[in-house]
Point group: C2
Chain length 267, copies 2
């Protein structure tokens, strides 16, 4: 049967670069389906379309309309197949509606040089058992954000003030993360992990969901098994929009994925 | 005649979303044409394709093969026209070769709310007259990087050590920037400005040009006239690649553009 996540992002090859998917209602959040999950579905289709270069190195997704649970198709196209990497395009549609349009570079993470000269340092976070589980959220929150039942998320207590009306106003959210069924992270799953935390604007006291216009993910290494540390930061809230940077650190302490998204402020 | 920059990014409408451009040899750097300039050409074509929403809000460009001076075409496509923004796709080709494939969200910067709650602070930089002009570079450098003649760039003295074999190794480059002819910045020109500094890896002592795989630009406000402050930073050099974050601050002290790119380390 495999893990729940693998079932939810599974695609069926329709030939000619087309794939069928079933968007699971378990990933509903607010009025749509979580963008990180959609990125996982798109990333799975692209991996199937690029067997010789199976790993996402960079993926840029533009969220064109809100997806709903149910059938979807992902059409993929190879823009250029190079020696070390391939550039690909993908569109996720439901009926005639484009939900996500994306560009990507796929490659082989295992084939990259093994130098790591990362100067970013892993931000401190209390141990798992001192963090606040997402399951502690009020039932009405978990009903609106049904996706919270897909994983175990343990929030750094320093950035959960917003849940009780006392946001830190630093513009930072941080949590430990693990998919259900102890499904270990892999490069495609990291695409999902980059957009599963609540919007960082909550920590600024701006409640409500924040629709993503664009999210670009960089996967920089195959993650080690175990819990991931996920961090969201924003520094430029202006003009009704904000950028949100996400970092994912694996259990071996490596910065394995980074993303930046441009999103609309909650109304 | 207009400013040099406007002539260099000009496009001719061929109908059906197609545009002709002439890539100017003045933007050559190393073995190719500068990626920021190419982004300016793509951005100009997209602006022409989206008259009701004339400003780039987000542009993601995948650099597929090295461009050369001479004729090029830009094909554009409207993925979806929404109320406040439009999602567009573009490909810049020379003959049959795709050079750049891109996705973009265009909108109207003047129509956005005027709230600015930016928490990022403008990094200190010495005044213009205490900075090191790009024209002080040795002639052999200016021959390889002919694009340096397209603008006035004044480097923060704290990050020019690499030019004399003493890089700071902080992974930071910073400069004042102004296009030739005192051509004032506008939203499309900011796309160029986000990729005109030398690769930040020079400050790590890694000399040579660094091919961009992907660059995503966010334009967050129409820039005030005058000099721009441009800053490049990297925090994750690993696996033969690095991310480069760019910030552009305008003369009024506003963070008007941000980008992140994934690039290959110099060999």
């Amino acid at each position: 049967m495999g893990a729940e996540y693998d079932q939810h992002v599974a695609v069926t090859d329709l030939g000619n670069g087309g794939f069928a998917a079933e968007l699971d209602e378990g990933w509903v959040v607010g009025g749509g389906v979580n963008g990180g999950y959609l990125l996982g579905v798109v990333g799975t289709a692209l991996r199937a379309a690029s067997p010789a270069k199976p790993d996402p190195l960079a993926v840029s997704a533009y969220y064109v309309s809100a997806a709903v649970p149910g059938p979807a198709t992902v059409s993929t196209r190879v823009v250029r197949e190079g020696r070390g990497s391939a550039t690909l395009a993908a569109e996720l549609r439901q009926g005639e509606q484009v939900r996500v349009t994306a560009l990507a570079t796929y490659g082989d993470l295992a084939g990259l040089p093994d130098d790591v000269r990362t100067t970013a340092t892993r931000p401190p976070i209390p141990p798992l058992e001192e963090c606040v589980p997402g399951s502690a959220a009020p039932e009405e929150v978990r009903k609106v954000a049904r996706m919270m039942a897909r994983f175990d998320m343990r929030f750094d207590p320093a950035c959960v003030g917003w849940t009780v009306g006392a946001p830190s106003r630093r513009g930072e959210l941080q949590a430990w993360f693990r998919l259900n069924d102890e499904r270990e992270p892999d490069p495609v799953a990291l695409l999902t992990v980059l957009d599963v935390l609540p919007p960082v604007t909550m920590d600024l006291g701006l409640m409500g969901w924040a629709p993503t216009l664009e999210l670009t993910a960089h996967v920089r290494g195959a993650p080690a098994p175990g819990w991931l540390q996920v961090r969201h930061v924003t520094r430029n809230v202006a003009g009704g929009m904000f950028e949100e940077d996400c970092e994912v650190w694996d259990s071996a302490g490596r910065l394995v994925a980074q993303s930046r998204q441009l999103a609309m402020l909650p109304r």
